[in-house]
């Protein structure tokens, strides 16, 4: 087999694996669900056009040339999408490195490894780009329908962004390996992904709060001072914005730049990819030492379970990065709280839905990890405890963790507005309990490392958990502004949770 044939064969193999993994995620691993998955996906895609229309429908008529403020807003939006892609790409690359999978087979084959890993790098880039295209399509559709086919160029911009994000993610991850070693890279890369994903929005919000006392990031983007400091209209910084609006020259340059960047990364790093993957796999074998030695602790059986769960949560790299991201999202409202501490402000009300939503989301993740993500189910099942005691101990861990994270914020809020603090505390509890209950009703035995796939086990549970968090957040906000509307919203959300319970699998 010639080198070119071998490469195309390996590329087909990679694409087939990627397709099957994606298909399994969509169908929850059941082939019989294929039709339902396709219909669901099409319905979801169609549904996404509604918020897309609401968000960017009004920009469809924009024409070149644009003023600086419009260029800043469009460029910032593109940059925001790019940071999210970069965040996802870093997460994907880290996963590829740490999953041993077919590494032994590839390394033991007589094929040229640099070539094979070039294909693997390209496959990562294609995957990241395909995901970006999937999520951006409704937005671009809205612009094409409202403003004409010139907006089709935006697809090209998304491709360029996806390829460049993947290239930078690979370079960053391999450099991290070289700088801090495989033991720390997984955690640092996940934290980096979280910070990059949330950082840009948060930075804009923080700037808006500090300058204008509002959470709206557009305030800072459309401000006169921003326009004054921005580059000139013909600067290369505006290429992405111009390319999005149909400037073919800018589009071709962007695509060329992205391809050159990816090609350079493949040329520089494909040789090191193998070494990095081997180091990552070898890391799993060396193990990490726990520095401190302490005596066994006593207490009840439930205490032993709670201690174990806390230890595992504390050592979970995914959880640390996710919690960090949740906490990062809490920075702007906390800042707003601090700025409005001495005065009564309507902006203060915005804090409540943000923290209620964050509590629900975090509780859902924690509940899955503690209840479903049990790595030694046989051990716990053969222990002399009633199953109800085990579940109770695990739920307690979730609620204690939520309380530890959100109590300080609610405490600070109590100084500014005791009533709002009370409403927020109540909504946090209800939101966390609802998310935990949904995870409990739909629990399936899984390994903690399968956390990424938790959404595929039950679509109903995933949507119910999201809608419950959003519902309780909205109810709390409305309760502060329009109490009657808040009550109605709360009843609707409670009804939604009850319906979810009704549809949950029956258990002995």
């Amino acid at each position: 087999m010639s080198s070119a044939t071998a490469l195309s064969w390996f590329a087909r193999h990679e694409l087939r694996l990627a397709w099957r993994e994606w298909f399994a995620m969509m169908t929850g691993g059941r082939r019989t669900r294929a039709r339902a998955a396709v219909i669901g996906l099409l319905f979801f895609a169609a549904l996404l056009h509604v918020p897309a229309w609401a968000v960017i429908g009004r920009f469809a008529d924009l024409q070149l040339p644009l003023d600086k403020s419009s260029l800043i807003v469009i460029t910032a939006t593109i940059f925001l999408a790019w940071t999210l892609m970069l965040s996802q790409a870093i997460e994907s690359v880290t996963r590829v490195f740490y999953a041993r999978a077919d590494l032994d087979l590839i390394m033991s084959s007589p094929a040229r490894l640099a070539n094979l890993f070039s294909v693997r790098i390209a496959a990562i880039a294609v995957t990241v780009t395909a995901m970006a295209l999937l999520f951006s399509t409704p937005f671009i559709d809205v612009l094409v329908i409202g403003g004409g086919p010139r907006w089709l160029a935006a697809f090209g911009v998304v491709v360029a962004m996806g390829l460049s994000a993947a290239a930078i993610a690979i370079a960053v991850t391999i450099l991290l390996f070289r700088l801090i070693g495989p033991a720390r890279t997984r955690l640092v890369a996940q934290i980096l992904a979280a910070i990059i994903g949330a950082g840009f929005v948060i930075a804009l919000q923080v700037a808006a709060i500090m300058s204008y006392g509002t959470l709206s990031r557009f305030t800072i983007l459309t401000s006169g001072s921003m326009a004054a400091h921005a580059p000139e209209i013909d600067s290369i910084w505006w290429w992405p914005a111009r390319a999005t609006m149909g400037d073919n020259e800018a589009l071709l340059l962007l695509l060329a730049l992205a391809l050159v960047l990816l090609g350079s990364v493949m040329a520089i790093f494909s040789g090191r990819f193998a070494d990095t993957a081997i180091d990552a796999a070898a890391y799993g074998r060396s193990g990490r030492s726990s520095a401190k030695q302490r005596a066994f602790r006593g207490g009840s059986r439930q205490q032993a379970l709670r201690r174990k769960e806390f230890s595992l949560l504390w050592r979970d790299p995914w959880l640390i990065s996710q919690t960090l991201m949740q906490l990062l999202y809490l920075v702007p409202p906390a800042l707003l709280l601090w700025r409005n501490f001495a005065e009564s402000s309507a902006a203060l009300t915005l804090i409540t839905p943000v923290i209620v939503m964050a509590a629900g989301q975090l509780a859902g993740g924690l509940a899955w990890l503690t209840i479903s993500g049990e790595d030694a189910p046989d051990l716990v099942a053969t222990a002399p405890l009633m199953p109800s005691s085990v579940i109770r101990a695990k739920i307690e861990v979730v609620l204690i963790a939520i309380a530890a994270i959100f109590c300080p914020l609610v405490g600070a809020l109590a100084f500014a507005s005791p009533f709002q603090a009370a409403v927020s505390a109540g909504a946090i509890i209800v939101s966390a309990v609802s998310a935990t209950a949904i995870q409990l009703w739909f629990r399936v035995q899984a390994r903690r490392s399968q956390f990424r796939r938790r959404q595929t086990s039950s679509r109903l549970a995933t949507f119910a958990e999201a809608f419950s968090s959003i519902g309780w957040a909205a109810s709390a906000a409305l309760l502060l502004a329009l109490p009657l509307a808040g009550l109605i919203s709360g009843l609707i959300t409670a009804g939604l949770v009850a319906i979810t319970w009704k549809f949950s699998p029956k258990r002995d």
Partner: protein, 273 residues
């Protein structure tokens, strides 16, 4: 290195231990009694199985793939609910009073399930806590178990980097740290190297000599032949033969037949029936 359970953990049971390790059976003192145990998945996995295992006995359950060995033991351990039948552990109805039954029992599966992010010592501390063992008792036992299984240098390392054999040893230590009276093992030697396998066999032998009852499934017939007091052959969810090696030979009419030949003859006979 041989492991001997500390005196305060050694279980006093009726069967006296012989110097050669063979316990004297007392038929009226059963560690496990299974009556009419039945489980159906797509097909009948366990078919009205009756089984009696005496206290202090080392019992090996052998059978071809899919014969119902693991399903039977999982039902005994309380991991699977039977469709019909009764399970009694040291006189305790395990279906009616599972907590009391589990208190004296330990389960080790062929796929060691431990926590990657805990160290072996932390794992043993957790298991001892689950069984309600006081730290003053469990801690020295844990240290001794890790030492006897050759895991002492790794006791402060997280298990995520351990090989399958090391993980199996940690799981086994977890099963022994609360000093069970009945140990149920499903293919415990899978993935262990020769030295580790010898360690584990020695450790189980010591436990049996100390009065503990061990039930083990295995595909390694030589292990059953050498270690077990009695052997049960299971096929198609039914117990097709049971007894000491001598008794099995007598039943089959060949005095010098190996267990492997006996096993193949019995299973072939059952499949033909």
């Amino acid at each position: 290195m041989r492991f001997t359970a500390p005196k305060h953990l050694q279980v006093k049971v009726a069967g006296d231990a012989k110097p050669d390790g063979m316990a004297v059976m007392k038929p009226d003192n059963s560690a496990l009694e299974v009556r009419g145990l039945t489980k159906r998945f797509d097909r009948l996995a366990v078919d009205s199985l009756d089984l009696t295992i005496h206290a202090g006995e080392f019992y090996a359950l052998v059978g071809p793939n899919g014969a119902g060995k693991t399903t039977t033991l999982r039902m005994v351990a309380g991991l699977l609910r039977p469709d019909a039948g009764a399970v009694s552990i040291f006189g305790v109805d395990a279906l009616q009073n599972p907590v009391a039954a589990k208190q004296v029992m330990a389960w080790v599966s062929d796929e060691p399930m431990i926590y990657d992010k805990l160290t072996p010592l932390e794992y043993l501390e957790f298991v001892a806590g689950l069984w309600g063992i006081a730290p003053s008792i469990s801690e020295p036992v844990a240290e001794e178990l890790l030492s006897s299984l050759g895991l002492e240098p790794h006791r402060h390392e997280r298990c995520e980097g351990f090989s399958k054999g090391m993980r199996q040893k940690v799981a086994l230590a977890g099963a022994l740290v609360h000093d069970p009276r009945l140990i149920i093992l499903d293919e415990p030697l899978t993935g262990l190297d020769a030295v580790s396998a010898r360690h584990v066999k020695g450790l189980l032998g010591e436990r049996v000599r100390a009065g503990c009852t061990v039930i083990m499934t295995t595909h390694i017939l030589e292990v059953a032949e050498r270690m077990a007091d009695r052997i049960g052959v299971i096929a198609s969810g039914r117990l097709v033969a049971e007894g000491t090696l001598t008794e099995l030979r007598q039943q089959n009419g060949h005095a010098d037949t190996s267990l492997e030949d006996l096993f193949i003859a019995l299973v072939t006979l059952q499949e033909a029936a």
